[in-house]
Symmetry: C2
Subunit: 232 residues, 2 copies
């Protein structure tokens, strides 16, 4: 894809339709297109925040702690926005999970340009609010849920975000590896594997190759996800 195509996709989705050509050009001049290869972190200036638009593929936002430990803090899919924070006590890197095309902005520059544009500000606010809710749900899972519940809520969440309805079930083509799932759920690959095996033996999911997961019993999956239902 060309830079123009990527930028246009971003603009049509996230910039208000009434922008003048000049305004669009100003946004365009702040953007940088990046083609990200699987698992290699996107090189960004660590001293400032960035905003990335995922045009195609899938990305992971990774938080780094001492000793090389990594926690995936969020996955992002096409047409979504990610805020990548500057380095502080911890470093954050954005990586592709499967090969992606991204459009990257310096967050502050973008905000300065949009400083008086309520539509753009509301869009940013909305994206930030959604990320915050996802992150809080993840904190709950990491802090208080069992391995079985984490895997179930992960799959149920993916079903909503990238599931393809099929007969009376949902098919998932997971772009991320078992290792990525483990790093996202605060578990190990072995535990992920065992949990998926167990879901299979309960006829809740079936697997197709390494990346295909068909959710045969979404209710059953949600029932193991630790969600609050009625009296919870």
């Amino acid at each position: 894809m060309t830079f123009r195509e990527i930028f246009e996709r971003f603009a049509s989705r996230y910039l208000p339709g009434n922008q003048s050509d000049a305004a669009l050009l100003r946004y365009q001049s702040l953007a940088r297109a990046i083609e990200a290869k699987p698992d290699s972190p996107v090189r960004l200036d660590e001293n400032c925040d960035h905003l990335a638009f995922v045009c195609c593929g899938a990305t992971k936002l990774v938080a780094h702690a001492s000793g090389g430990r990594e926690q995936i803090v969020a996955f992002h899919f096409p047409d979504e926005l990610v805020v990548v924070p500057a380095r502080a006590e911890h470093a954050y890197t954005l990586s592709s999970v499967k090969g992606s095309e991204l459009l990257v902005f310096d967050y502050q520059e973008l905000l300065d340009l949009a400083r008086n544009d309520p539509l753009v500000l509301r869009m940013l606010l909305d994206c930030s609010r959604k990320s915050l809710i996802r992150c809080r749900n993840k904190s709950l899972a990491l802090g208080r849920k069992t391995a079985a519940e984490r895997v179930a809520s992960f799959l149920a969440g993916m079903a909503v975000r990238i599931g393809m309805p099929e007969d009376d079930c949902v098919f998932l083509d997971l772009p991320m590896s078992r290792r990525d799932i483990a790093d996202s759920l605060g578990l190990t690959v072995e535990t992920i594997s065992r949990q998926i095996t167990q879901l299979r033996s309960l006829d809740i999911v079936s697997t197709v190759g390494k990346s295909g997961v068909r959710i045969d019993d979404l209710r059953g999956l949600e029932a193991r996800a630790g969600y609050l239902i009625a009296s919870g």
Copy 2:
């Protein structure tokens, strides 16, 4: 404190100074003051998001999972804003940790009123970005850090937020109980207690009564916090 006083404190901190009296009144008409007693959740309509301004005291935002399990997702101190999400797969409640005075808005109503006010929107965006960063750091801690590291980073974080410098150390008067700390760090009270005991025996902190913690060796504390330093 009277409603007026609380609202004025909020307005002076978060509403741009150039607002007309009429505009201020519109904001004021959306606000509700609430006096929150320790540990009893603030009653809010679960069907919509809310924004709360903590005027005094300290609050916790609690996420609820099945089986009565709770995870504290964020603490908030005076002059801070919290977004309390509507109920979905999980419920979120805001409680006081020590007795607080709050100003509460329906988030959507507030956003509608501020829809064309870039200054207010930027303020909301900024508050949302800060919460997101804290929440991501918490996810990293919950997913990948040991009990010792979680307690150390908790104390180091509190030192920044509510610490009182004193000689060459920092004094903390923790408003929350051990149980709250445990629910925030995804651990148990017993583990918190043991970790603090260990920090005491390493001369990194000393404790004064139940709520007082003096950080005698901030470097030492940070060194155990799992932060990324240089080569990490």
